[in-house]
Symmetry: C2
Subunit: 526 residues, 2 copies
């Protein structure tokens, strides 16, 4: 059994406090910099590479981080997780999202059910359903094919699946595997559902209602909104909707749906893209084969994360460097900067994944801790961000570590050669240039044109954004966040911080408030 | 003439360092909290209200902030700005975006040109052009109406106009004033242009090429990309494209365009939504009348920002409270949280506006400063964010000030009543609940369910998101950022921090690199 100890009680915590800080600007200059780029690189799953040459580490820091990994028993804890331990201590639950994409350890059986088999069974049920929709065996009331799919969900039932859909939409068009266009309704703002419905040909649309508990306020409200709209169009909602929920939820047995696909309590919302939550919409949109390839990529990244040597385990190393930046270099925020328009909503997904998992102030036993935990995550695709917030990143007073992502090839392969280079080459040239500009800076007599440098970054590089590399990317970050949670000795799988707002909102709607809340309710005309 | 002095040399800097910190949790409890909500409120333009009851201020702090406003001569500096002083010291330029929407001071004449008249003339030229496009007087080669408009631009030529388009698209549909659907191409990633073009009926599309200098790498590349695609479709690009640029740019006299509309060096990219940059695409999309209403709203907010008493000037007060949080409470980041799906990209616009303007380390004379300046800005619409990163906001180790925005009414007016409340009421109930949850927290024996509270927030409340209120919102934040720049004694109108990356990217494309940059170029296959 692994030992769960607060981070600041570990010997490596003290060691890391006193290890000599690395001057990135100096280290990344000249031939030494070139050597670092060659050396500080780890192969990842699916041909991806994690390069951390421009991070504020050297062999000494890395050695201490490896010691930390060992002392914090990161590999042992991951092993316990995938073998079915109760890692989600707050909710007393197993953490099984990896089982959706492979079996890393022994069989996990809960209440007589082999969970891997359960998840695979759901995937098969979804695949069978999707194939029947695509072939025209399952149709609308008039016997016409469904051509569009609309996911109704919020949080993890929206951000991950939506980011993945956007990431693969163009790839799928190019590869003739876009079966149905997908849209997403998430916000309780009625303008969200109304606008999506206005763009949707409801008579040929399948709606997926996604709520694990079957009680999510926004999702049930939007469900009613959509049912209303369908009825007004003379359509039978029950012929246009499927549910994704847990087998015990009120939605599971409802006759309001063509069918229901199941997830369970062992997969948190932000980790649910690999489950029926992502499987249903992505299988309908791209076909089950594409979703299977996505899972293969994620499974390969999970496998890679079992490597015990942090220097060969990109997710673990990425996690350790992030911890070093957060707890010893004092950086509060991390920017995620994919040089890929297809990943435009990937930072929004990571925002939930990371901030909801590790934005905690108590350890996994519910005791307050005194060290900082998860950072703020934000980001936009490059090169767009260069023309927006990079000013602050380069010359601001607050230092922000950066996580770049780049691909050698575009998805669509349509390009134009201007002044001797393609757009794709310009895109790649920019991310290379930014890494060096951030790290090395540039002296100028005019302080306004001076670049201090010393801004740390890493980059994940791939050949192309495909289902496999996307799956590997998703799992890489899930595993990174998990390892960081292990180091911080926190529970990365609950989210008690979202509860209070829900309770108070209900009170406002019931007009059961007092003091400031009553006054705000008046101001907002509730 | 105003005195430009470093912030830490002001007497009020010292006063603010020692003013007693406010315990929000205590202040916002019970009847005192209710009183604060009623009292700490400023009317803004267009019926908006800025409420800062849940900020960490009291009468004492506010008094000191008012003293700061006076000592830093915020009103005088704004007056100098709108009267045509060289406020952009780095580039030695006037700062005139407010002149696009009104005349606050005396005539500003540069090289014999009255700038207000110049901007109005461009608006009239755009309006005339847009009306002719809408009426079918200006058509494609076949004499068919243009039905779509595509903006090609990056940074300020993209983020602001795009955010405004998204903000008003549904409103315009509802009010039968959506004349042309708009799309945007920004990224040099070839998949961006290719994907937008694939969705566009090019034969009925007008393209707007936006680059002040006429030299922006991404925009010129995407211009070539689009021209290529049009030619392949057998279309004449010159019959499908207009330019928005400065009169001295190489694009201004080009025969590649139907016509060109002009901006000038006195309006920075991130402030250019009110200029021809936003005017062209928004007038084509919604009609010139709607754009005029948007400018009216912005003009009203500018007028409101001339109020000398900070307690009656929302932009100034918002700025001062932000400075207090940044420099004296030590917060690095601010989250912008609009409870309005239509404002989904407004935080991305503010990210550029704020971080590019105030992410600086030198004062307006180019001298290094020792106090912190602009914060990191991020945000997503509520209630979506509640199911994503709010966990960290409520229970994380790092405290993030919050800026909420909410409207009493939806844009489309389509709604559904579930369990006694509409979706719009649920949306508003949630933002009210969040403010109080963040401020007051809630004690729980279980530390994992404990909410510390003390998280400061403000809210801007309006009746509805309309062209007028949107214009007022935009200008409010522009003026807030401007006032903060004045306090910090920095130049909020240049962006030298974006230059180094451009230079290095060119070197990569010319294969003129060494050291680490050469190695990164190899990794990325350039």
């Amino acid at each position: 059994m692994a030992q769960w100890t607060n981070f600041d009680e570990l010997a490596s915590y003290k060691t890391l406090q006193s290890v000599k800080k690395v001057d990135i600007r100096k280290e990344m200059a000249g031939e030494n910099g070139a050597e670092r780029v060659k050396k500080y690189s780890v192969p990842m799953a699916e041909g991806l590479t994690y390069n951390y040459a421009a991070k504020a580490v050297d062999d000494e820091v890395l050695k201490d981080l490896c010691d930390l990994a060992k002392e914090a028993q990161l590999s042992e804890k991951f092993e316990e997780l995938y073998n079915g331990a109760v890692i989600n201590t707050g909710e007393k639950r197993l953490v099984l999202h990896q089982l959706c994409r492979g079996q890393l350890g022994k069989d996990v059986v809960v209440d007589g059910v082999n969970k891997r088999e359960f998840y695979v069974e759901q995937q098969k049920r979804v695949a069978d359903f999707a194939n029947k929709v695509h072939s025209g065996e399952i149709t609308n009331e008039k016997g016409e094919k469904f051509t569009q799919v609309v996911q109704i969900g919020i949080g993890g039932s929206d951000l991950g699946p939506r980011a993945m859909y956007i990431a693969l939409e163009n790839w799928a068009k190019k590869n003739n595997t876009l079966k149905m266009q997908a849209r997403f309704i998430s916000n309780v703002d009625p303008d969200d559902a109304a606008a999506v419905l206005a763009q949707t040909d409801a008579s040929h649309a399948l709606f997926i209602l996604v709520s694990k508990s079957g009680t999510t306020l926004e999702t049930l409200t939007n469900n009613a909104f959509v049912q209303d709209a369908l009825k007004k169009d003379g359509l039978d909602p029950a012929k246009h909707m499927v549910a994704v929920t847990s087998a015990t939820s009120p939605l599971a047995k409802s006759t309001d749906f063509l069918t229901a696909f199941y997830m369970d309590d062992y997969i948190g919302g932000r980790y649910s893209t690999s489950s029926a939550v992502g499987c249903t919409v992505l299988s309908l949109a791209f076909g089950p084969d594409v979703f299977a390839r996505f899972l293969d990529g994620a499974a390969a990244a999970d496998k890679a994360a079992t490597e015990k040597d942090p220097m060969k385990n990109a997710a673990m190393l990425d996690a350790l460097i992030g911890v070093y930046e957060r707890n010893f270099l004092g950086y509060d925020t991390t920017a995620v900067l994919p040089y890929s328009q297809a990943l435009s909503r990937f930072p929004a997904h990571l925002q939930q994944l990371d901030m909801e998992s590790n934005g905690k102030s108590v350890n996994r036993f519910g005791e307050p801790i005194s060290y900082v935990t998860g950072p703020v995550i934000f980001g936009e695709p490059g090169t767009n961000g260069q023309h927006s917030f990079y000013q602050l990143l380069h010359q601001g007073k607050t230092l922000i570590p950066l996580q770049f992502i780049g691909f050698k090839n575009s998805q669509l392969g349509v390009d134009v050669d201007i002044e001797g280079s393609t757009s794709q080459q310009k895109l790649c040239a920019n991310v290379a240039a930014q890494i060096v500009a951030f790290a090395c800076g540039k002296d100028d007599e005019n302080p306004n044109k001076n670049f201090e440098g010393g801004r740390p970054s890493s980059i994940i590089i791939g050949e192309q954004l495909t289902p496999e590399t996307l799956g590997a990317l998703l799992a890489h970050f899930e595993n990174k966040v998990m390892f960081q949670g292990f180091v911080w000795n926190i529970n990365s799988f609950d989210q008690e911080g979202v509860q209070l707002g829900k309770v108070l909102a209900k009170r406002v709607l019931a007009h059961n408030t007092e003091g400031a809340l009553t006054e705000y309710s008046k101001l907002l005309n509730i």
